[in-house]
């Protein structure tokens, strides 16, 4: 039996929510969703300088291609009215989790197609310094499982992206978080005791101010993993895939949660929309502060830890006592690491945040 496209009645090739579609109509639907999110949620305005967090994975590659097509194409063949100055930001340090060299080539190829600039962390002194002080110095034996590797990577990477964006005059960054990733973040926030963060996780616009002047938005927040991968496949876009022989499905809270979501979705197709819809009903708190470690917004359950003495990186090399606040997840993280490792990370991250806040160099 041949299925027809719900829109144009041509042969359907993509099984999609809202009716099966042909390749062309599916792509048009994704582009429309993408552009609508940017305009309705106010993620960027005409003429803005926008950064894109480009890891080389299928989600961020889809983001780059969607942005490129949104800026240069229109269905009626006329020039697009969306005008943004786009720079891609890529963290190209090697870590035990990532192979960096192949990532950059796939990103460069797509960046060249749309004449987007590419800026990497290795070219930035401050990012290099942060990397040297954290990932290159920690004792990996201190970590109990890959959850901490992944989460620390993410904590570092987002800060570096914000720093790179600021250095290039971008106050807005788009990341490739999909609907599944947003839902995973919501569920892991709940399970780790960070329910306070839900309204910030579910919002496509960054309303937290966690990275000071730089806002990291999620324009693909209601496009599913399946749709993004399907889009990338139809467009024949190269992407970097993980080496599954080096990982375990049960190794981290993130991968367990994602696996749970996909299992549930197999039986209940509305799982993802339901999580997004329900989470969006949680009111945004009026007052909050930030976890000193991961910068997630925290309310009254963020524990104040003992004052931490650390040297700020100024010309006079002064010592300053600072009081740090940790979210529930970072409190658990602290217990899983050696105190030395945790303090190393914490002091470097806080100093980096200070440099980010005051637009100074770090290190």
């Amino acid at each position: 039996m041949v299925h027809s496209c719900a829109k144009c009645q041509q042969r359907a090739t993509v099984y999609d929510v809202g009716g099966s579609k042909c390749d062309f109509c599916f792509q048009q639907a994704i582009i429309h969703n993408f552009k609508t999110t940017i305009s309705r949620k106010g993620l960027a305005q005409f003429g803005d300088s926008v950064g894109v967090a480009a890891s080389g994975g299928y989600s961020s590659q889809a983001l780059v291609d969607l942005l490129g097509r949104s800026l240069f194409e229109r269905e009626d063949g006329k020039t697009s009215r969306m005008k943004l100055k786009v720079t891609l930001f890529h963290i190209d340090f090697e870590s035990p989790l990532h192979s960096s060299n192949s990532n950059i080539e796939v990103i460069q190829s797509l960046a060249a197609k749309y004449s987007f600039r590419l800026c990497t962390a290795r070219d930035n002194h401050s990012c290099q310094q942060l990397w040297r002080e954290t990932f290159e110095r920690i004792a990996w034996k201190d970590f109990k499982d890959t959850s901490d590797f992944e989460e620390l990577s993410r904590i570092l990477v987002y800060r570096m992206i914000a720093f790179l964006a600021q250095s290039q005059g971008c106050k807005i960054v788009f990341d490739g978080l999909s609907a599944h990733s947003v839902c995973r973040n919501i569920l892991t926030s709940i399970s780790s005791g960070n329910g306070f963060a839900i309204p910030f996780e579910v919002s496509p616009a960054d309303i937290s101010g966690r990275f000071f002047d730089v806002a990291i938005h999620h324009p693909q927040y209601d496009i599913t993993d399946r749709q993004l991968m399907r889009y990338v496949w139809i467009r024949k876009i190269d992407f970097v895939a993980p080496n599954l022989t080096l990982s375990r499905l049960t190794a981290s809270v993130d991968s367990l949660t994602m696996s749970f979501l996909k299992d549930l979705e197999e039986q209940h197709r509305s799982t993802i929309p339901n999580i997004l819809r329900t989470s969006s009903k949680v009111a945004v708190p009026l007052q909050f502060s930030y976890c000193s470690f991961c910068r997630v917004p925290v309310g009254s359950n963020g524990k104040l830890v003992s004052p931490l003495t650390w040297k700020i990186h100024d010309k006079k090399d002064n010592e300053e006592k600072v009081v740090t606040r940790l979210c529930k997840a970072c409190q658990h993280r602290q217990r899983r690491m050696s105190m030395e490792t945790f303090q190393l990370f914490l002091s470097s991250l806080m100093a980096f945040d200070k440099a980010l806040e005051y637009k100074e160099d770090y290190g």
């Binding site: 099966s20 993993d225 991968m229 599954l244 299992d263």
Partner: protein
């Protein structure tokens, strides 16, 4: 004996020894996709089977395409493979 091309992507190629494309001849007249999946699980993938299958079914989160068409539109596991078919398995379990 239909000869088909199996493609693996999204990280699944790391489970097939780095081979993104595998060409196979299946014996028998009416070979259904279920048999192909069983063959992949038992003969092609040597480790980390849990990334490909969950019990006897393809793991949720893996896209299956038959000649670049979603398998849901082609009858899923009951699809009878034809000579020259291209079956693609793509994992979406690790985002990017």
């Amino acid at each position: 004996m239909p000869k088909v091309e199996l493609q693996f992507s999204g990280g699944l190629e790391s489970l097939t020894g780095g081979n993104k494309v595998v060409k196979v001849n299946f014996s028998g007249e009416q070979v259904v996709l279920e048999k192909v999946i069983e063959w992949i699980r038992t003969s092609l993938i040597k480790e980390k089977h849990e990334y490909f299958v969950q019990g006897e079914h393809v793991r949720p989160g893996i896209l299956v395409l038959i000649n670049d068409v979603d398998w849901e539109l082609e009858g899923k596991t009951s699809y009878v493979i034809q000579e020259g078919d291209c079956i693609t398995f793509i994992s979406t379990l690790h985002g990017g």
